[in-house]
């Protein structure tokens, strides 16, 4: 295929798609979301919600199946439950008829996202999301809703722009998620067996499950020593031309190795024979125990100018919002006088 068709060449064949559960899950989710967005009727909501959730569960099941077997299932379960909460909030946001309910669903989604941040050891962002978004922004949205639309809902909330924009929106969204999922787990086409010349074109034998990717050294060690996994940041391998190769286990700030170095070396033996092992503490470590101190240190040293700019932006937004409201009030008074 010529180079101008590179993008097209990256798209797998139809048969590969048909064997991929994620494709069917996406299709179901797109159909369900199409039914869920306005105009609302009770039946469309029930059917659309059911179909969208079936599709979503299919996608999740495919992701889990592709990563199977897992050493510790508990983090996976927690992750997908939190993700389902966040996604349920998002679905509720776009399908709720009343904007008040939309804001409430959005707050639920924020709680899910904050919990995902916490699961990834981003404690500050998790708390900041709850305080700033759920605590301040959503409440401000509710205030404005009360001021602008006190009756709670209007005709415009029950209709959309028509069929074509809705269709475009769900197809665009489905394509986006499909592209990301394809990049994450590229469908692997297993080479067809030697064709048998019986006059029938051989079907490609396909599978959506790729061969297990060779995990990083860190992941290999984490599988072998589960108690080491949370403390181990990285494994570096230095292979000097003169002398034995050396593994360096980068540990979380303030943590000890805690396992027998000989066992670790025995695990790493197939990669580099006769290696030695050292440990060191990580300097730039997003999973450090003293998370807040590190984050604050970075924020106010390397990103100091950006912090100042953000402060200026906040001030400008404040002044802008106030001046807009004042100007609107002056205009209204001017009209009243005329």
């Amino acid at each position: 295929m010529s180079e101008s068709f590179l993008l097209l060449a990256a798209v797998p064949a139809w048969t590969t798609w048909l064997a991929c559960p994620t494709f069917w899950g996406l299709l179901a989710a797109v159909v369900g979301l199409y039914l869920l967005v306005p105009p609302h009727t009770r039946r469309r909501q029930v059917v659309g919600g059911a179909v969208a959730w079936i599709g979503l569960l299919l996608i999740i099941a495919d992701m889990v199946a592709l990563q199977w077997p897992v050493a510790a299932p508990a983090p996976h379960v927690v992750f997908w439950v939190l993700a389902a909460i966040a996604i349920a909030g998002g679905v509720g946001l776009i399908s709720a008829q009343s904007p008040i309910y939309s804001a409430m669903w959005f707050a639920l989604s924020l709680l899910g996202v904050a919990a995902l941040f916490l699961q990834q050891d981003a404690q500050f962002l998790g708390i900041a999301t709850i305080i700033v978004y759920a605590g301040a922004i959503v409440v401000t949205f509710l205030f404005v809703l009360m001021l602008a639309q006190p009756e709670g809902h209007s005709t415009a909330d029950r209709i959309s722009w028509g069929t074509f924009p809705k269709f475009c929106a769900v197809v665009l969204a489905g394509t986006l998620v499909g592209t990301v999922s394809q990049v994450i787990h590229p469908p692997v086409v297993v080479a067809a067996e030697a064709p048998v010349d019986d006059g029938v074109a051989p079907l490609e034998s396909v599978t959506s499950k790729p061969a297990a990717p060779p995990g990083s050294l860190r992941d290999q060690l984490a599988e072998k020593f589960p108690e080491l996994a949370p403390r181990l940041v990285n494994v570096e391998l230095a292979q000097p031309t003169d002398g034995a190769p050396q593994f360096t286990l980068v540990l979380r700030d303030g943590d000890e190795l805690g396992v027998d170095p000989q066992e670790v070396l025995a695990t790493l033996e197939p990669i580099a024979a006769g290696a030695t092992l050292t440990t060191k503490q990580s300097a730039h470590n997003v999973q450090a125990v003293n998370h807040m101190a590190n984050l604050g240190g970075y924020l106010f040293s390397r990103y100091l100018i950006a912090v100042e700019l953000a402060g200026t932006l906040l001030l400008a937004a404040l002044v802008g919002a106030v001046s807009m409201i004042i100007q609107g009030r002056l205009n209204k008074e001017g009209e009243a006088h005329e």
Binding site: V91, S98, L116, A122, P165, A169, I325
Partner: protein, 147 residues
């Protein structure tokens, strides 16, 4: 959960959140719901950024999310002031009121059919109108002491 599968799962969830916000922004007509959907897209991006930062063991991802939160706060302040003014001018939050801003030669958008209100879901939250004095019940004033 290994770092790679955590990254993969989180990227997928981020993409789904972004896609949901995208659908809502295009299909909903209430200006406030449209802004909520824009915030939803920001959430999807934030989730992905934190995952990348963790995978590469770099603070840049979390720093960007800190600034996303700051910019989202600014955006909410400006947007809500604007929405309030627009709603006061047009008498509603429907974005269709502002279709006179469209280009010359583009046909106006006309609603074909407004569906009946869903009758079997009569419980709507009733909001007290803020900023004005509530109606007084004269009977209540009689049997209440000075408040």
């Amino acid at each position: 959960m290994s770092e790679l599968s955590l990254l993969n799962n989180t990227l997928l969830v981020g993409a789904i959140l972004f896609a949901l916000g995208l659908i809502g922004f295009i299909t909903r007509r209430n200006m406030i719901v449209m802004f909520l959907c824009a915030e939803m897209m920001l959430q999807g991006v934030s989730v992905s950024l934190v995952a990348w930062g963790r995978y590469h063991n770099d603070w840049g991802g979390q720093m960007l999310v800190v600034f996303i939160i700051a910019v989202a706060a600014c955006e909410a302040a400006i947007a809500l002031a604007l929405v309030l003014l627009l709603a006061a001018k047009s008498g509603g939050l429907d974005a269709m009121h502002w279709q006179s801003l469209r280009e010359d030669g583009v046909a106006p958008f006309v609603d074909r059919a407004v569906p009946e209100e869903v009758q079997d879901d009569p419980i709507w939250p009733v909001l007290t109108r803020s900023g004005i004095e509530p109606a007084h019940d004269p009977e209540e004033d009689l049997h209440r002491s000075r408040v």
